[in-house]
């Protein structure tokens, strides 16, 4: 009721420097705090980081694991970043990835014989379409019934997990496998390797190209302009001839394509089969990555690499010196919080 209700962040010292510098400082700060936690646990932080670095970059094979891990993160992260920019709070990448993987698997298992070499592109397409369908259901519920998009997309994730589990325990499950998974796909459905005789598949290339394409669409096309406008002001967007329905549908469709493709890449490029929980947490990581990248499609590339390499390094650290790999979650979480604080509201150009 009085003026004291006004929050005045201006009295705090402003965090200076470019956004990029602030992001790097934030990540550095999160490591400093993690050091303290490691010290409290009675271990040597330097040794821990050495193991993380070795685990992530110690050999070519390890780098490949990280790059393959980064690809789905990147794809889904781009979709989330675009949605957030257009003021669509899409929490549904997780479910879209799962359904995308499922659709690609069904296609790879059932049509490989008939299609031959064309199986792979069609399986990828099926994955993308699966993601779109899943995203479209959420968009329709949001627009037709006015349910908040956070709720709808979040709930659709749980349904997606259960759908995948149900199918693996039922019709598509491999008999006598002892684990809910499908039989292995035929080789025609495998994602080709980027470098011969390594495990590095072309997913990372697709993801980087997608980031560049998203950047171009966002800044160089009328569609991107309308998305940015929808994100900046609902009323101005309406005045300029746009509609909420159009921006929600188009953005959710883009997120569906990218997340669905991420799921397809994971099953067709890494496992060559659908496994229960194959993408657990990918979609939620994608949200964190999009925010860490301050919603810039190109910045999603380093943000996704950071998350992926941190995770592969952490597993090795746990094996070698017994510090739990969940420490990495602390680093991820802290760096995200610091970045959000450092960048703040309004620092973003529309």
């Amino acid at each position: 009721m009085t003026a004291s209700t006004t929050i005045a962040p201006a009295r705090w010292p402003a965090w200076r420097g470019s956004v990029a510098l602030r992001v790097v400082q934030s990540i550095g700060l999160s490591f400093v705090i993690t050091d303290l936690l490691i010290l409290i646990a009675g271990k040597n932080p330097l040794a821990a980081y050495e193991q993380i670095v070795l685990g992530a970059f110690g050999s070519w094979a390890r780098i490949v694991v990280g790059l393959n891990k980064a690809a789905p993160y990147m794809l889904a992260g781009i979709g989330v970043a675009l949605c957030f920019r257009g003021n669509v709070a899409n929490m549904g990448a997780e479910g879209q990835i799962a359904i995308g993987g499922l659709a690609a698997s069904i296609f790879a298992l059932t049509c490989a014989g008939a299609l031959g070499a064309a199986t792979l592109p069609f399986a990828m397409l099926a994955g993308a379409l699966g993601g779109v369908v899943w995203a479209a259901i959420a968009a329709v519920i949001h627009l037709a019934r006015g349910v908040h998009e956070v709720l709808v997309t979040l709930m659709m994730n749980f349904i997606a997990w259960l759908v995948v589990a149900e199918i693996l325990h039922g019709p598509l499950g491999e008999i006598d496998a002892g684990f809910p998974q499908t039989p292995m796909f035929e080789r025609v459905a495998w994602l080709p390797k980027l470098i011969a005789r390594s495990d590095l598949h072309i997913g990372i290339l697709i993801a980087v190209l997608a980031a560049i394409a998203a950047h171009i669409v966002l800044w160089q096309t009328v569609t991107g302009f309308r998305w940015r406008l929808a994100g900046a002001s609902d009323k101005a967007s309406h005045y300029a001839g746009g509609s909420r329905a159009r921006s929600v549908f188009s953005l959710m469709a883009v997120s569906g394509v990218l997340s669905g493709a991420a799921g397809a890449i994971e099953v067709l490029g890494v496992h060559y089969r659908l496994i229960e929980g194959f993408s657990l947490g990918f979609g939620f990581n994608a949200i964190a990555i999009a925010l860490l990248a301050t919603l810039k499609p190109l910045w999603v590339i380093p943000a996704a690499l950071f998350f992926a390499f941190l995770e592969t390094g952490a597993l090795s650290m746990q094996r070698q010196i017994g510090i739990p790999s969940s420490l990495v979650l602390v680093i991820q979480g802290l760096s995200l919080i610091f970045v959000l604080c450092a960048v703040g509201r309004g620092a973003r150009k529309v």
């Binding site: 009721m1 009085t2 003026a3 004291s4 006004t6 800044w219 160089q220 096309t221 009328v222 569609t223 991107g224 302009f225 309308r226 940015r228 406008l229 900046a232 002001s233 009323k235 101005a236 309406h238 005045y239 300029a240 001839g241 309004g346 973003r348 150009k349 529309v350």
Partner: protein, 508 residues
């Protein structure tokens, strides 16, 4: 001479390179009304925010009742007895008057004293002629009464100094009279008032002294006795305001925009526009006066294709366009300047160039086949900003860096630069200083002289009278009393605005 109630001495405040206040002195005696005049951006609001502790001054001291106030502490200012009545009310609509007052009292303790507060409100209301019922719900009250709730809140806090920030901008003429009466009674009781306004007539009728700010400095102070409108205007803008706008004499052309029995609801589904009709010809301005919230927004949005009409029809150049989208109407030559600059007609975080392209982005030269063409649009952006005299560092700067007047020039450059056949202008001078207001009106008059048809809607009666070829009133969702400007009857107009149109048939 008794010491003054309030003394602000040598107040200075800079925001980066912008000097909002430069060494301002302001003295207010108990039992006096001081008018604070100035264009937008002259430093009035910064000075008042400093007085109220919402902004910390770089230099200067505030002495209130012989005690220095701690800078930057609204709590201190409140406790000392300074009451601020903001332009935008801080009331909870679903609560009663008494409950709202209790909220403001803050330190009332744990138990609510409904009866005591209600009795005190009734007493104050009677004493000052406010006519407030403590048990009525705020959302049922007209804006003028809500303002009085704010005044009671300040009085209950025992405020000796009341700051009224443009209190008359939302009131109808009779309500303004009422407020001025209340102000005189407050003054008679020994309370002091700082009255912030744009309107010279009100200053002359109620104030004892006027302080005029220009560019962050006091450009003049004078007792009201002996002051003239022209003199005050000169102090405000540093030049004498020109004669009323001149217009070419021309016979109105054919009918361009015609509405028949148009009805529409607001976003909450309440009927706001009820069976309104009018016919607008080329080369004329139909100006509608009216208090805010009488269906103006719904009329404009419906005509512009942003809200669907419930019933009735709209024709544009003889074609039924009732169901057309805003984009189709735009392409057919209908331009629209909405009232809200901060989030509807402009996007603050976008660049000046992007804001110029806002509604035309899908057309050349702004884009080709879906691809933006910033280079190709550069020529048009430069030409438009030059033609409409937008003062800026460059068209890539965010629009939020411009003053309100220059922001509105960008809107004009976009909507009028298209050379539309029909323009709907809703409060196009809202919040602008006299210089920018003049620019907006001259630009719109020039469009009319070129043969454009203009529907001009404003709650500023003076402006409606000076702009319109035909004048009407929008009241309770209906367009009433439309006449030629030569036949305007001020008394009738005032009555219509205040809602007394029971016996007057809807005119067109």
């Amino acid at each position: 001479m008794s010491p003054a109630l309030l003394e602000m001495r040598g107040i200075s405040k800079s925001y980066g390179p912008v000097h909002a206040n430069i060494g301002i002195d302001l003295t207010v005696e108990a039992g006096s009304i001081v008018g604070l005049l100035g264009e937008n951006g002259s430093g009035k609001s910064t000075l008042m925010k400093i007085l109220f502790g919402m902004v910390q001054p770089d230099q200067g001291a505030i002495v209130f009742k012989n005690k220095e106030l701690a800078p930057g502490s609204p709590r201190d200012a409140l406790r000392a007895g300074i009451g601020m009545i903001h332009q935008h009310f801080t009331l909870v609509n679903g609560m009663t008057v008494a409950e709202n007052v209790m909220l403001a009292l803050g330190e009332a303790g744990f138990w609510l004293d409904r009866k005591g507060v209600a009795a005190r409100i009734t007493e104050l209301s009677r004493g000052y002629g406010l006519g407030l019922d403590p048990e009525s719900t705020v959302e049922d009250l007209p804006l003028g009464m809500r303002q009085r709730v704010e005044i009671v809140k300040a009085l209950m806090r025992e405020a000796d100094l009341l700051v009224l920030d443009e209190p008359t901008s939302i009131l109808s003429p009779p309500e303004v009279e009422g407020l001025i009466g209340v102000m005189r009674k407050l003054k008679g009781n020994g309370r002091a008032i700082i009255f912030i306004t744009h309107k010279l007539g009100e200053v002359l009728s109620v104030c004892d002294e006027v302080v005029v700010l220009r560019d962050g400095k006091v450009s003049g102070r004078t007792p009201v006795a002996g002051a003239t409108r022209e003199g005050l205007a000169h102090m405000m803008v540093g030049r004498t305001l020109a004669e009323p706008p001149r217009r070419a004499a021309r016979a109105p052309g054919r009918e361009r925009l015609v509405a028949r029995d148009l009805s529409a609801n607001d976003a909450a589904g309440l009927p706001r526009l009820q069976q309104s009709s009018f016919a607008l010809r080329g080369g004329e301005i139909l100006a509608l006066a009216g208090i805010d919230g009488n269906g103006q927004a719904e009329l404009c949005d419906t005509l512009a294709g942003l809200t669907p009409a419930l019933s009735g029809s709209i024709t544009l150049d003889g074609v039924d366009v009732t169901a057309w989208t805003s984009s189709a109407l735009l392409a057919a030559g209908l331009a629209y300047i909405p009232a809200d600059r901060s989030g509807t007609s402009l996007v603050q975080a976008m660049s000046i160039a992007d804001n110029l392209a806002l509604r035309d982005i899908a057309r050349p030269p702004f884009s080709h086949y879906g691809w933006l063409d910033r280079k190709g649009a550069r020529g048009l952006v430069d030409a438009r900003t030059r033609e409409f005299d937008v003062r800026m560092a460059g068209s890539d700067a965010a629009i939020g860096t411009l003053s309100g007047g220059n922001q509105q020039k960008v809107v004009l450059a976009r909507e009028i630069g298209r050379d539309p056949g029909v323009l709907i202008a809703f409060q196009p001078t809202w919040g602008l200083d006299p210089g920018a207001t003049r620019f907006v009106i001259d630009t719109i008059l020039a469009l009319r002289d070129r043969g454009g048809a203009v529907l001009y809607i404003s709650s500023e009666l003076e402006e409606v009278l000076s702009v319109g070829d035909r004048i009407g009133v929008i009241s309770e969702g209906r367009i009433v009393g439309v006449t030629d400007r030569a036949d305007v009857d001020m008394v009738k107009l005032g009555l219509l605005m205040a809602g007394h149109h029971a016996n007057i048939p809807a005119a067109a």
